[in-house]
Symmetry: C2
Subunit: 107 residues, 2 copies
């Protein structure tokens, strides 16, 4: 996973409303459409739709047209991939950082 892609997903997750939207979508029994999310938030429908679009474009959720509504589902594989990539990055940073501190103590 390239930095650009990781950063794009992080950016999509970098807004509390969008974290909330993801939880609402996950908690919702069965289908979850835009109106369901809007009902749970003090935001205009257009604003919610815009946030949803950001999540779709980041590849974190999927749109499924269903009659007159659009249902959204999480793409769990993408969350897993991001978690893995982030974990690897954190491990690398932490390891290098620790090694440097070790040398610092010696010098």
């Amino acid at each position: 996973m390239k930095d650009e892609e990781i950063a794009a997903m992080m950016r999509a997750l970098g807004h509390p409303v969008r974290l909330n939207i993801l939880r609402i979508m996950a908690q919702r029994q069965r289908d979850c459409c835009c109106a369901d999310v809007t009902d749970c938030l003090p935001l205009a429908q257009s604003t919610v739709s815009q946030h949803i679009k950001v999540l779709v474009e980041a590849g974190l959720i999927e749109r499924r047209p269903k009659g007159t509504r659009n249902c959204y589902v999480l793409i769990t594989s993408k969350f897993a991939a991001l978690e893995s990539a982030f974990g690897k990055m954190t491990a690398a940073l932490t390891e290098l950082s620790a090694r440097n501190r070790h040398q610092e103590n010696k010098g």
Copy 2:
């Protein structure tokens, strides 16, 4: 860890240059100052300093004045905390999402 804090860290990580800066800081042997980072990037010093500020304010790195320079070190505990929070969130989302799909298949 609250959504607002998670989102703030995610936002700070949501730019490829900042991911790069973190790697540069971690890879660097011993101290890492602003000039060291700037040397590795095709960006103005002021721009790099600004990115560093974002990382400091997100609580991901720490500034340590050292003579005429400022050294920066990763706060590994914050990375661990974020990784943990993100992992929990992902697990919750995935679990709920899977349960809903299960019920969907039944209904």
